[in-house]
Symmetry: C2
Subunit: 243 residues, 2 copies
Amino acid sequence: MLNTPHDCVDCPIRHRAVCARCETDELEALEQIKYYRTFEAGQTVIWSGDPMDFVGSVVSGIATLTQTMEDGRTQMVGLLLPSDFVGRPGRDGAAYDVVATTDLVMCCFRKKPFEQLMMETPHIAQRLLEMTLDELDAAREWMLVLGRKTAREKIASLLSIIARRDASLKLDATKDTLVFDLPLTREAMADYLGLTLETVSRQISALKKDGVIQLEGKRHVTIPNLSRLLEEAGDDSDGGIMA
Amino acid sequence: MLNTPHDCVDCPIRHRAVCARCETDELEALEQIKYYRTFEAGQTVIWSGDPMDFVGSVVSGIATLTQTMEDGRTQMVGLLLPSDFVGRPGRDGAAYDVVATTDLVMCCFRKKPFEQLMMETPHIAQRLLEMTLDELDAAREWMLVLGRKTAREKIASLLSIIARRDASLKLDATKDTLVFDLPLTREAMADYLGLTLETVSRQISALKKDGVIQLEGKRHVTIPNLSRLLEEAGDDSDGGIMA
DNA sequence: GGCTCTCCTTGACTCAGATCAAGCGCGAAC
DNA sequence: GTTCGCGCTTGATCTGAGTCAAGGAGAGCC
């Protein structure tokens, strides 16, 4: 069973979500208009174009943002992790499909009151701006991956993003060996990277054969040497994270 | 000679830039910290990684935002048109190369005072949030183009974006025939679309041969039938601009 | 146990777009 | 007027990733 927190004070995303900068009284105002929703892995949270009367944050689990063309080609345009924000204040309909990739808990705010609150409490708008700017940077990084990288580099890029995020959560950092589970199917990775699932599978096999990664089962990945992986991704080889 | 305006009140981008929502007194505060800079076509405004002590708006002309890999592969990640915002409050270095594609006039604000002003005047922060969200949407639209569209669809997508923007400026809308000049070289288009310049050239020739566009010289384009172009772009065929 | 379903892998073949290469047109410089 | 250089076009060939197709591994169910 998915357990849903109730109190903002001990919320796992308290210090990273839209509400990160809020003071106690501001939190209370938010608490008035919030409610939790849970979704099972595979469930669609919203369909593109549907009216959307809430915005919210991912509390736990992973969701994807995807765009689909009329003939069925799909491109993932966002990967939503805990603390990420969903929805756009000031817009009525959803612009993308949002799908729960794992079991998902969301902290939702009714849109109208949230918009109202945003006008009154600069802390929320400031934090949302900051988060949006970060997302824009991530999207631009991703445009380079989609437009200019080879299939092998794309896979290495995705793996290093997931590895880095995982390392930052677990705080077993500075170790050069990283271990994690892939949160995405081969097909979802393909949609993220603008590839087919066959190519994803082949390139993962190739990276495994070349010793860049180790695989246990289909999802459990070990990175014996992060800088090697970053090299394969075509990123700055020193692995420095820039400002 | 590039003529630089001096008074915000009759600034051509007054109602669309970061300052769009500002009241007269807020404008005056901005006016205190603003200065104009001009660049010639081809000049680099900032190099990625360089310290950046200003933010600003494009007043006239066009600039590009690009990312470059160590081996020289480049991907454009933004096309800056009049009223677009450059720079990120709260960040010290430039994250991308910014290059003037045409002669360019920018209205710059010293960064520190601008950040200060942003804290005090919600109108600026609000407008910046709105603009950033729009850019994020555009970036995501572009991810679909980069990841899933064919070369022909990519060219058609780019042409329809330029055509639509031009139509919205000139206000000769509702006409199905559009005429404009390409503001980009074939190479810049290739960098935008994740293609080579040869492929760009070939696809433009093909669209011309098929009567989707007409070309006069290398830059002057006529779109006899916009919905035909949108079909070629793989967009919703009705050409509706969604909310 | 066997059945089915989903996710994944691997092979053989094809093709869209990259690469390599030659040449055109036009404006600027001499 | 000639020459140069840049932006662009077009052709020939190559190749990385897509497509089509066959099957494997594991989980859940009867």
